[in-house]
């Protein structure tokens, strides 16, 4: 969506126009869902938290700065929501694979290529989900949302050195897990 068009929609949302918010949701629901899925590792839970993220975003829309893009703000809000959800629900969480998470036949790769890519994605997802929550969220904010260390510290309300440490450890752990899988 063009930024000016998005700004106009958000201005209307700030005045309480729910139809405009519907258009915003349709534009961002997929990217927000992907954030939730990478952090939570469960499709159903990710869908629920995606809805919850949009509900919260609506209630906080008055604090949104119209001069900034909506996407990063929304996805950071969703990532934080999922992180807090994981902290609260400290259960023996087992990530659930779903056949919808695999690439279907794609002539670009051929049947063997598709199998290989799916296997690669599966290994990577499983490795991400084995990381402690705080390292996972640090990776999400840095690699998928492109936040700087400072922005990550603000989003997670943690000192910048702590955030950096979680990110570095997360990457190291991820590299080790992927190396084990590749052996």
């Amino acid at each position: 969506m063009a930024v000016s068009g998005e700004q106009a929609l958000i201005k209307k949302v700030k005045k309480g126009d729910l139809d405009s918010y519907g258009a915003i949701i349709q534009d961002y629901q997929s990217s927000v869902f992907n954030v939730c899925y990478r952090v939570l590792g469960n499709r159903q839970e990710a869908e629920d938290l995606t809805q919850e993220a949009f509900l919260r975003a609506y209630h906080r829309i008055s604090s949104f700065d119209l001069n900034r893009p909506f996407g990063p703000w929304m996805r950071t809000l969703a990532a934080n929501l999922c992180y807090n959800h994981l902290k609260k629900a400290r259960l023996n969480r087992v990530p659930l694979e779903d056949e919808r998470d695999s690439i279907k036949d794609d002539p670009k790769y051929g049947p063997e290529g598709v199998l290989e890519i799916n296997q690669e994605h599966k290994i990577l997802y499983q490795a991400i989900w084995k990381l402690p929550e705080v390292q996972r969220i640090a990776l999400e904010l840095r690699h998928f949302q492109g936040l700087s260390y400072q922005e990550m510290a603000e989003a997670l309300k943690l000192p910048i050195n702590t955030v950096r440490s979680h990110l570095y450890r997360g990457r190291q752990k991820l590299a080790e897990l992927l190396e084990v899988e590749n052996e």
Binding site: S30, E52, L55, I103, F144, L167, A175
Partner: protein, 198 residues
């Protein structure tokens, strides 16, 4: 840079890859990398993680959630109007109750007992309370007169016989309004349906 081993620490390499080093730091790291195969290998290992994360494709969300989010927001909006009315009614009820309590206590002869207290401090407090009570009694007498006159003018009859109109009737009425409002509020509470079942 780790001086003991003469290699760049993994943390510093990560900062370099994140482009969070200052210009001097970048030059130092690149100078070292040009002459250190070990650090080059560590850098490649980390870059491999970056590349694999970048390749992770976006998944499709196979349903449109906008309608359900909007439905919940509309429900909350109705709830918000409901709670405003309920709070207004409850505030009215509470105000009525507070306004009537002191005359009721006066009627129950609580204050004379307090006025008979012995110590000076208590006497001071009692005088203050007595003054407060007397002003409320004046207010209450005026209010009762107004209610009686209004009732007479509305019904042209002594619906509330003079002297039998107890403040407890209004207190009970306020409590009833409060209970009714809470019942309406809880019946239409949409938050219950928002609880996730994980």
């Amino acid at each position: 840079m780790n001086k003991e081993s003469s290699h760049i620490s993994t943390d510093r390499l990560q900062t370099y890859l994140d482009q969070e080093l200052d210009q001097t730091g970048v030059q130092e790291v690149e100078l070292h990398l040009n002459q250190c195969p070990s650090c080059q290998a560590e850098l490649s290992r980390l870059e491999g993680v970056f590349t694999r994360l970048e390749r992770l494709p976006a998944l499709k969300l196979d349903k449109d959630i906008s309608s359900s989010v909007l439905a919940k927001l509309r429900e909350e909006s109705k709830f918000s109007v409901g709670i405003t009315w309920t709070l207004a009614l409850e505030a009215l009820g509470a105000g009525t109750v507070i306004g009537l309590l002191i005359p009721a206590f006066r009627a129950a002869s609580w204050l004379p007992q307090m006025v008979n207290a012995q110590t000076e401090i208590q006497a001071g407090i009692n005088i203050f309370l007595a003054q407060l009570a007397s002003s409320w009694l004046v207010w209450w007498a005026g209010l009762r007169l107004n209610i009686e006159q209004t009732t007479k003018s509305l019904f042209s009859t002594h619906y509330f016989p003079s002297g039998e109109f107890s403040p407890w009737i209004l207190i009970l009425a306020a409590a009833g309004i409060g209970l009714l409002a809470n019942y309406i509020l809880l019946r239409s509470n949409p938050i219950r349906s928002r609880n996730h079942k994980h």
